[in-house]
């Protein structure tokens, strides 16, 4: 019975897909009488079933060793492609996280999207989204994971582009797709290369393959770099970080998923690929450098944003930067923990932000204020989510950082510096947002702001409770998330003061955030230097402008150039030749109207010329000539 139930694990992601397919009659307009609501209920029901099914499996798998289910897919010539899924507490736990958050988000969306006329399409896309994410959580094959990452790219494109009539949405959807696609294609290059070098494409096979040190250092470095590119796009890391910020134009429920689960899916893949990165120091170094650059850069960007969603989404990139560093250092345990606590805290913050946005019809924090007494549940959610995001209070991220620096891991001073920096700025950012949105005097748009209705309040409160108890999970079962054990367990702490320092940094961030002057109308600083930095951060270091001037302009120029070349050079020669033919053989001119005689004449002439040369023995002259040239 147990085994039988375990065998059914692969079905769980398909619930989401089934839900997506079932919404088609409503989204295609075949069923109009009922309105789009039944499609939404169906999806929520199926997600709930997926969650329950997952819980059953999770209970069964708890004490068991890791198992694999392997499905043969395609055998061609010497290539054998199999798809595999992994049954372990980690993979099923990740699946539970996906379906759990998806369930809450879908209930939330019921309220948030209530008045949208394409509700059925939205839920269909969410189902598809959930299916791809759930698949990634279970997948034990790089090929399957790659496929699902691409489906994720597609569904992100469609979800960001959900309100396709708005101009900003159009560019946001395009940029999200193309940025991720660049990463995906480079990942595909790595995949093809790995397969060609004889590695099986299941993660366990890849690990075995990596242990035999099979390739040259340069090749190993290139493969490593190409594999990093995919997750870099998914996790919105520099230089592929801008799409996440732009994607905030899409509906907020999808934004919750994106900022908590989707980015984590990218990092999850990275963790799975970690054995390959050990082949070459270049790839792990790249991971660390990318992580540091993103963590520092996006932390700075976040504090200058005035759009509540954008301020939070930049902070997502920053935390994922820390995950990149952890994977680069080989500290997979920490990476998982960070993903887990960040995912929950960020989902909660985005739910709270969504409630604020729906109630006030506004995303600009400088036009808000005084919401705390009007929206208690939303305020609580923001406080709990915020407290879980930076290390000051003993919640969420605090315990992860504490674990990271308690001496179990080989860590350096520079890492502590980065963490302190990110933590301070994160605390500053959250405090700043909290003051702007919830404290102070109500402004025009926040004066009449009732608390959100139950479909939004219920998931928010539920997740608040989860966020409050979640940090106890990793402490209680310290190793359930760790496929690798810490390096130097039991030794003295390397950096004795690390934990107090981190808590202090959180406090400093709060103090700065609480004391800086926040002018409601967002007055521009008078000093040039502050003005410069504010613009620099607010416009994301002008990276977008830089891309426009380099990559985008380059491709556009190349396209114009080839098109010109095609039209005037390649085709020009052709037209010139045909012009010459017209003048030499007058027949053509009078045969443009569609007569086939000319055509037959051409063929006949050609054939008879050839036949004549063959029969006359002239052919040998030609062949001999060419043969002599070739020799």
């Amino acid at each position: 019975m147990t085994d039988y139930l375990l065998q059914t694990t692969w079905i769980i992601p398909f619930y989401g897909l089934l839900g997506a397919i079932l919404t088609l009659p409503w989204s295609l307009g075949i069923i109009r009488k009922t309105g789009p609501k039944p499609a939404a209920y169906l999806n929520i029901l199926l997600t709930a079933i997926a969650f329950i099914h997952g819980s059953l499996i999770f209970n069964l798998i708890w004490t068991k060793p890791t198992q694999q289910l392997v499905f043969p897919w395609l055998t061609v010539a010497d290539l054998n492609l199999t798809l595999a899924i992994e049954l372990s507490p980690v993979s099923v736990g990740a699946l539970e996280l996906v379906t759990g958050i998806s369930l809450l988000v879908q209930i939330y969306a019921l309220g948030y999207m209530e008045k949208d006329w394409s509700l059925a399409r939205f839920f269909g896309l969410m189902g598809f989204f959930e299916a791809a994410l759930g698949g990634i959580a279970l997948s034990d094959s790089l090929l399957l994971t790659y496929g699902l990452l691409e489906l994720l790219t597609l569904s992100t494109y469609l979800l960001v582009g959900f309100w396709y009539a708005q101009p900003l949405v159009v560019t946001a959807a395009r940029d999200a797709f193309l940025t991720k696609r660049v990463g995906d294609i480079i990942l595909l290059m790595g995949l093809v290369a790995l397969s060609a070098y004889g590695a099986g494409l299941n993660f366990s096979q890849l690990e075995r393959w990596a242990n035999t040190s099979p390739v040259e250092p340069l090749t190993a470095a290139l493969i490593g770099l190409s594999l990093i590119a995919g997750p870099t796009g998914k996790c919105a890391q520099f230089p592929f970080n801008l799409w996440l910020d732009e994607a905030m134009e899409g509906p907020n429920p999808a934004g919750i998923m994106r900022n908590s689960i989707v980015v984590s899916a990218g990092a999850y893949v990275l963790v799975k690929l970690q054995p390959i990165f050990t082949l070459s120091p270049v790839s792990s170094d790249t991971l660390i450098v990318l992580g540091i650059v993103t963590a520092i850069g996006t932390s700075l960007m976040a504090i200058a944003q005035i759009d509540i969603k954008r301020a939070l989404s930049h902070s997502t990139s920053a935390y994922l930067g820390l995950v990149f560093i952890a994977v680069g250092l080989g500290q997979v345990d920490i990476a998982f923990l960070l993903l887990f606590v960040h995912g929950i805290a960020k989902a909660l913050l985005f739910m709270s932000a969504g409630s604020v946005i729906l109630t006030t019809s506004n995303q600009n924090v400088t036009e808000m204020g005084g919401l705390w007494s009007r929206m208690p549940a939303t305020t609580t959610a923001f406080v709990v989510g915020g407290a879980g995001l930076f290390a000051f209070m003993p919640m969420g991220v605090f315990w992860t950082f504490q674990r990271w620096f308690n001496g179990s891991w080989d860590v350096d001073w520079w890492l502590l510096a980065v963490v302190l920096f990110v933590n301070t700025l994160s605390a500053l950012n959250i405090t700043r947002l909290f003051r702007l949105v919830f404290l102070g005097e109500p402004q025009m748009k926040t004066r009449r702001a009732p608390e959100v209705a139950w479909p939004m309040a219920f998931p928010m409160v539920a997740l608040t409770i989860v966020a409050l108890i979640a940090p106890t999970a990793p402490i209680q079962w310290p190793f359930w998330l760790s496929p690798t054990t810490p390096l130097n367990l039991g030794e003295e702490s390397i950096i004795q003061l690390a934990t107090p320092l981190i808590a202090l940094s959180g406090f400093v961030g709060i103090v700065i955030g609480a004391t800086i002057k926040l002018d409601k109308a967002w007055a521009r600083p008078t000093q040039m230097i502050w003005r410069f930095f504010q613009d620099l951060f607010a416009y994301d270091f002008y990276i977008e402008r830089l891309y426009e001037l380099t990559v985008v302009a380059g491709v556009a120029f190349l396209a114009k150039l080839t098109s010109w070349f095609d039209r005037y050079v390649v085709d020009g020669v052709v037209n010139l030749v045909s012009l010459a033919t017209i003048f030499s053989g007058n027949a053509l001119k009078y045969n443009v109207s569609g007569q086939s005689q000319f055509y037959i004449l051409t063929i006949l002439l050609g054939v008879s010329l050839l036949l004549w040369s063959v029969l006359n023995g002239q052919w040998s002259i030609v062949t001999n000539y060419w043969s002599s040239l070739l020799n």
Binding site: V76, A77, L151, K560, G606
Partner: protein
């Protein structure tokens, strides 16, 4: 049995002439459809009887025709041709189905369409070099007429350009065939017999050169491609479907069957250059597609880019890559046919294909939402999204070619990346955004008009999830092609 695949459409084409002129226009269409469907049925039956584990030709028919030249009516079918024959009969049905019911001169139109189908089927079936050439040429005439009479504004120019190019291609192919027979001293043009003959390397190269140029014109490969965008733009939708889906495949089929099959040694010598050419062609097609304003031209240039992958796979000459080449032909046939169909729907309803004057067509009330949704899926299939046939066929091409030619493979992979760029630009401009005033009175698309697109989409997804259903037909024969079995 095989002759039926050629004779039934020929019979249909001839029958058109005897249909009374006064009858309603739809009678020609019904007859044509009946003929095409019966060919498809014969094909399905053949598919069930075909044994994919056997090397060589099955269901062979051999009738001496003009013995003093060495021409035999020799037909046969193997793993290389079966998927293509199938594609041909399927797309013929779809082309007839999606032809306008009020078309001018329906009897001539449908008879030409059937003739085209018969020509293509004959070329795929022919086991005699001269017979292949005859069919290869035969299919040009109806296509020329179809473009020249039912085409767009510049149809005269486009049709003539197509004619000159392909006629030239035919002459080169014929020259190579004649040379082969002459140099080997063979008494017939029989394919299997000629495969057993051996030639010195320099004579192989000498014969291969004209053959390749002829084939490259047909596929088409840069720099012999300029007839294709013009032909596509001027041709009506059903003709574009057939042109992209079937007729281009004659080129790649000839590449595998004759260039690789008859001149393997010579081909291997040229292969590194061919792989680079494939890389260039893929990037060139993709790059041109980005700059196009006409939706049909975008799809046409994308065809050039995607057909180049087949050249890459053929150059690599591994067992995997040759199988993948056949698969890629099927995959490209299905996907490009779908895209041309959908562009055709947009054109029929809005009267334009210009990306700058179309906007917001996804609008659920007044726009073309279902067409838009299918189009998004179609371009995703084309840009190699997993779960659809484009991904696995391209993956196999790249995986098969990478060990032999890593750099050209990477170039082609970049081309795949660019596919998403140009198609997304089109989707964003045409389907996203706010529907413009001038487009708010579009005629509705009836569900029946979407039947062909849904049918193709179903196949694209099915074969994407179950690629072995296509691959297993051609695997054995692809290996035999390389080992001389």
């Amino acid at each position: 049995m095989l002759s039926a695949l050629i004779l039934v459409p020929l019979l249909g084409a001839a029958l058109m002439g005897f249909l009374p002129q006064k009858e309603p226009k739809t009678i020609a269409r019904s007859v044509a459809l009946a003929m095409a469907v019966s060919v498809l049925v014969v094909n399905i039956v053949l598919g069930f009887q075909f044994d994919p584990t056997v090397v060589g030709f099955q269901f062979a028919e051999n009738i001496p025709w003009i013995e003093w030249i060495g021409l035999n009516y020799h037909l046969g079918i193997d793993g290389l041709s079966l998927p293509l024959i199938f594609l041909n009969s399927l797309l013929t049905v779809i082309a007839i189905f999606s032809s306008s019911k009020s078309i001018e001169r329906p009897r001539l139109y449908y008879s030409m369409l059937l003739l085209l189908s018969a020509g293509a089927a004959g070329a795929f079936l022919a086991q005699d070099l001269l017979l292949f050439f005859l069919f290869y040429e035969l299919e040009i005439i109806p296509l020329y007429i179809l473009i020249a009479i039912w085409g767009g504004k510049r149809r005269g120019y486009a049709a003539m350009k197509f004619l000159l190019y392909t006629a030239f291609s035919g002459i080169l192919v014929l020259a190579s065939f004649l040379g082969l027979v002459w140099l080997t001293g063979a008494s017939s043009f029989d394919y299997e017999f000629l495969r057993t003959q051996t030639l010195a390397l320099d004579s192989q190269l000498l014969l291969l050169a004209p053959l390749l140029v002829g084939i490259f014109i047909k596929i088409p490969i840069f720099p012999f491609h300029t007839w294709l965008p013009d032909a596509h733009v001027e041709a009506s939708t059903p003709i574009s479907v057939l042109l992209a889906g079937v007729l281009l495949k004659l080129g790649t089929y000839a590449l595998l069957r004759f260039a690789v099959g008859l001149f393997l040694e010579g081909w291997v010598v040229l292969a590194p250059w061919m792989a680079i050419l494939a890389g260039i062609s893929a990037l060139y097609g993709a790059s041109c597609a980005i700059a196009q304003k006409d939706m049909k031209k975008v799809v046409a240039y994308s065809s050039i880019a995607h057909m180049a992958y087949i050249l890459l796979a053929a150059s690599a000459t591994t067992r995997l890559s040759i199988t993948a080449a056949v698969f890629q032909m099927v995959s490209h046939g299905l996907i490009s046919a779908l895209l041309f169909l959908l562009v055709g729907v947009v054109y029929a309803k809005t009267g334009t294909r210009d990306v700058d004057s179309l906007r917001g067509l996804l609008n659920p009330e007044k726009g073309l939402p279902v067409t838009g949704g299918l189009m998004i899926l179609g371009v995703m299939a084309s840009s190699g999204l997993p779960g659809m046939v484009g991904f696995i066929s391209e993956f196999l091409v790249f995986r098969g070619s990478f060990p032999i030619f890593p750099i050209p493979t990477l170039l082609c992979l970049v081309g795949t990346g660019l596919t998403a760029v140009y198609f997304l630009l089109v989707i964003n401009k045409v389907f996203f955004g706010r529907l413009t005033e001038s487009l708010s009175q579009l005629p509705r698309v009836r569900w029946i008009e979407h039947v062909p697109a849904f049918a193709l989409m179903t196949l694209i997804i099915t074969f994407g999830i179950q690629p072995s259903w296509v691959v297993h037909w051609s695997e054995v024969q692809a290996v035999a092609l390389l080992t001389g079995g």
